[in-house]
Symmetry: C2
Subunit: 123 residues, 2 copies
């Protein structure tokens, strides 16, 4: 369980940036991340790719991982970039967190370490 | 103050649908709504217009109404449409609520009715 959940606190590998590849490429990246044990994947996009990011999240949660994930709080922002002419340009961005609901698939041990000793069960 | 805030409970005129017009057209629609007293405007878009919807909201809240509005919970969804060939097509959609923070601008009386009698102030 992580205490910090802000964009700056993403665990490594848990972000999928949406670019020019086909939608399904990113869908499979997200599904693979979730199925390999990531509790949360943040789908991020800028500019025109924002619409594709929403497509990716909708396909993941309605077709591939239905009932297994939920969305976190969607954030939009403005990023200041320097374009090819060397001038500043503002571009909109979106971040959509997808969280796994319930235990990991098949609940396999993902490492070689034994699980930590459990405390006494609460009735 | 409205009790219901869901998408189905939008007050009339408080939704701005993003389409093919220039971004600033929709920016001015939103600013006009907020400045005319709407406590909340929901910016909605489907498909490729989703990126423009995010642009509109970012321009409104960072340039025109800075410090005067805040965003509500952003929702994404899938809508089933019938395209020109008569076949079903899924299209992603977004809804971004923008709420005025604080009293209406200039706080003019918007109607001719007197304000309701206030109850005793709670300490």
């Amino acid at each position: 369980m992580r205490a910090a959940r802000g964009p700056e606190a993403d665990p490594p590998g848990a972000t999928v940036f949406i670019g020019l590849k086909p939608t399904m490429t990113y869908v499979f990246q997200v599904v693979t991340q979730i199925n390999s044990g990531s509790p949360e994947v943040v789908v991020r996009a800028r500019g025109n790719a924002i619409a594709k990011a929403v497509d990716v999240v909708e396909v993941v949660r309605r077709r591939f991982l239905e009932g297994q994930v939920e969305l976190g709080s969607i954030a939009i922002s403005t990023e200041r970039l320097v374009n090819r002419d060397g001038r500043d340009a503002n571009v909109s961005a979106i971040a959509i967190p997808i969280r796994r609901v319930g235990p990991p698939p098949g609940a396999p041990a993902t490492g070689t370490r034994p699980p930590p000793a459990a405390g006494p069960p609460s009735p």
